[in-house]
Subunit: 332 residues, 2 copies
């Protein structure tokens, strides 16, 4: 049986292009004992996938040329030769970008979908929520009354970080790339203030004005000059979680900027990078709180949904133009 | 009664010069009840004093033009109108650069000198030792078998960090600025390996060769390009203590370099700056271990001593040329 797939045609130089992807037909293997036949419903597209397009040693293997891209997905079981899954089951797993796929039942996670938004298991009730939770609560450890600044605040992780910080009594200031996002953060997601970095005459001054008591916690998703502006407003003993650096992922040269260590030293600041899988053993703790807050209505969420399997590369490229508010997903 | 003092004549631009200091006579006040009259024996000179010469808000007040420089000192009590101190007592305190001085007995710490090297209370048995201890043990938390790299390794703090890391079973690699220092680190202070950054053809390669299993801990006293070379060799979950940035203290422009956050992110690394006073409440813990290790002969030390009160500015300037091995002090 044939299915459509999307492979990496070439390793991008700088900003990825549609031509770095190729659509093609592939033949699925036989369904062997222990296998399940899946139809993906939603694919997550995430900035970190850019890193896997480079041929560089990393915490996760690079994508191979002519091989399918893969990302986290929700899928429904169509046929099963596994005694653990039956048709109709909803599962979550890293899946190749294929319209249909066959996987072994090992490491396959069944989702007991209680949320009406099943796609939320790819975001606020999944990796996105956990990333926000552990980065904020385990690295930054915000205290009530402290000021928390978030870059890419209207992105998937940023939205959740801001709301968790509000739940803990912090003043929350978001940085985003449009007036519409800025309005949404304040009016829809309870941020105390938000700044459009594209129109602020001086971003450092704008942050100083929005944070009259300075910045105690910075949750960084973007890096680059936005971070320079935040770091010039740090308080003594500030904590900085490095979750993403999307502004630099497409750099073709080594990004250069003001040296950080003098600030880290003079402010006795802590900076820590993390991958969500570092916290794997503590996921149940994170899920407990995320589920609770979503149920209580304290943690709201939104998605940008592209429709159709063919939209996967376009949706991914959109991440680098800030086309998403909340989680970027593709409904296939 | 008159005494000689050294005041800040002008705020240095770039590297401090002798002309930024001025010697003059000043009249000491009357000895009031609660006061003690002190004769300083040793002054500590430290890189951080450079920061106090700038007119910038910081964790400690800037020096004022025409006012004496001050630094940590050991002094002997000559006369006392305090009931807590008597002539002959040895005390340690921040003191102005004066040949004689009068201070109140408040915040005055008596030293019960049991070490034969009383000047060690300004270094390995004082702030230097505590800085090494807390930066390494409380921030970097090295595990036996891990690789620890230290910049300015033959400096006061570096020497102690390396030996504490060896006591904890680490592989210890020092970076220093002369072949003589490199030899001393390995032959005199038990470092596994040491690198002369001034003669290494490629410092990053030299560090890679000295650290075949990568760098787990980096104790940074210097910053700049030396740190760039270390950071290109970090292991996953590396820890970096920022203790000093002496290579940048005399910069007249904002120092620029490769952006750090991408490395911090991809390595899930932790970077933390600190001031020794952040750990004040835990000093007894640090002193307990330092005293024990010195007594057991596991923690050795050395000093560079300049002789004579008039040498204070020269000794201070020497810090920026790496003229010291171990602690730089002035015996007055």
């Amino acid at each position: 049986m044939n299915t459509k797939q999307i492979v990496l045609a070439s390793r991008p130089t700088g900003t990825p292009q549609l031509t770095d992807f190729r659509f093609e037909l592939t033949e699925l293997p036989e369904l062997n004992p222990g296998d399940v036949f899946l139809k993906p419903l939603f694919f997550s597209v995430d900035p970190y996938l850019r890193g896997r397009m480079k041929d560089a040693k990393s915490y996760i293997n690079p994508f191979q040329i002519d091989q399918p891209i893969e990302s986290n997905a929700l899928a429904t079981v169509i046929k099963s030769k596994s005694d653990k899954f039956e048709p109709g089951d909803l599962i979550m797993r890293m899946l190749p970008w294929r319209e249909m796929t066959i996987v072994s039942d090992k490491d396959l996670q069944k989702i007991d979908a209680t949320s009406e938004h099943i796609s939320y298991y790819l975001s606020v009730l999944g990796m996105t929520g956990l990333t926000a939770y552990f980065g904020l609560m385990h690295i930054c450890k915000p205290l009530a009354g402290e000021t928390v600044v978030i870059s890419a605040a209207a992105g998937a992780v940023g939205l959740v970080v801001g709301q968790i910080a509000r739940i803990h009594g912090c003043r929350v200031v978001g940085i985003a790339g449009s007036d519409e996002k800025v309005r949404l953060l304040v009016e829809g997601f309870d941020f105390d203030q938000a700044i459009n970095y594209k129109t602020a005459p001086d971003l450092s001054d704008a942050i100083a004005a929005a944070c009259p008591e300075g910045v105690d916690v910075y949750f960084d998703n973007v890096g680059g000059e936005i971070s320079d502006a935040v770091l010039s407003n740090l308080n003594f003993k500030a904590r900085i979680a490095i979750c993403g650096q999307i502004s630099l992922y497409n750099s073709t040269t080594i990004p250069v900027g003001p040296r950080l260590q003098p600030i880290i030293l003079s402010k006795s600041a802590l900076m820590k990078g993390f991958l969500i899988n570092n916290y794997k053993s503590e996921f149940p703790e994170g899920m407990k709180y995320l589920t609770k807050w979503v149920k209580e209505g304290k943690l709201k969420f939104t998605e940008t949904v592209f429709h159709g399997f063919a939209q996967l590369p376009t949706a991914f490229l959109g991440l680098f133009n800030g086309e998403n508010t909340g989680k970027m997903i593709v409904k296939v």
